[in-house]
Symmetry: C2
Subunit: 199 residues, 2 copies
């Protein structure tokens, strides 16, 4: 086989695989559960990328942020201005900005109660639980409670759960688990966090 | 130390680390080069998440798509409707939808010429070269040409390059490399690609 023929055969195989993947695409019969975890960049930003993808198809989207820092993020400013996304931020915030464990647990539970309401309502094609894995990591929420909430979701609603250290039980439950692995990070070279890129 | 004290100490350490990270944040002195690679989900969607983050800060953004499929994506529809993002799509598309190698190479080179113009102009805070790594993977572009283009960029412009199989030379050049690793994928369970989630 010549190089051109080999290339042609390779491209045809790719084309076939890709067409098979998208052949029966359409409105999902069942919303999927996606977990974005790992120590690398891109867990939340790819969830927000999926949000705009869903909005592009005219789907309805809800976001619950489980970490409310004291700093302002570009994505929050963007969606505030855009409108159309139902956005809930945990009242108090926790981890590095709150040093009271009982209050942290109460805040996490209140945020998850909001998330449950969104997931069960049937009003959303996509619900993002941003940084919920951090609440799990610090035992502010139990994996059992989160899985029970996912299980009770409206069949229409897909859910993305982000944050490092996703517990194994959640990964077992999920349809898709993607690990963002940090291969090289500019902090290692002493470069500071930047607007737009990092937050 | 009691559990509460340990928790408190842990939270304080986290808070300190986080504050150090964002302490000197602001307009970047130099746009970073980010590579999103790996076989998992989230390479392009996290780039689009960074796009909205940048837009949230009022930054200007350009996107060059190196793979133009015959299908419509949610992100393209979203940004078309939103406006304000300079968007270039490679004329012909390649790989599984084009089976002529010479035409593929010409199309990739034309797309990269557009990308160079954007990167050198100084008009953009962020330029996304979506799926450019696929063009590298099939030798439609050389790593040397891509790195020369990055090197000639305006200092203001950050660049994100997405796609699996990023060449080592590009990873060596980049400030940040994030690998999206597929831990579990619904295609494995026979679930088809879904609107909103996958495209």
């Amino acid at each position: 086989m010549s190089d051109a023929e080999k290339h042609n055969a390779e491209m045809k195989a790719l084309q076939k695989a890709q067409r098979e993947k998208i052949a029966e695409a359409g409105d999902p019969a069942r919303g999927l559960v996606l977990v974005h975890t790992g120590d690398g960049k891109g867990k939340s930003s790819s969830a927000f990328g999926v949000v705009i993808r869903a909005l592009g198809w005219g789907q309805s989207v809800g976001v619950v942020q489980f970490i409310k820092g004291t700093w302002v993020t570009g994505e929050k400013q963007f969606f505030d201005k855009l409108g159309g996304v139902t956005w809930a931020t945990m009242g108090e915030g926790f981890t590095w900005d709150t040093q009271d464990r009982d209050r942290d647990i109460a805040a996490a539970e209140a945020a998850f109660a909001k998330a449950r309401t969104m997931m069960e309502s049937g009003d959303f094609d996509l619900v993002v639980l941003d940084e919920v894995n951090i609440a799990l990591r610090y035992d502010y929420l139990t994996p059992e409670a989160v899985i029970a909430g996912l299980d009770a979701r409206h069949p229409r609603s897909g859910v993305i759960l982000t944050g490092r250290d996703a517990p194994q039980a959640l990964c077992d439950y999920a349809d898709l688990v993607s690990e963002m692995r940090e291969v090289k990070h500019p902090y290692q070279a002493g470069i500071k966090a930047q607007r737009g890129i990092d937050f």
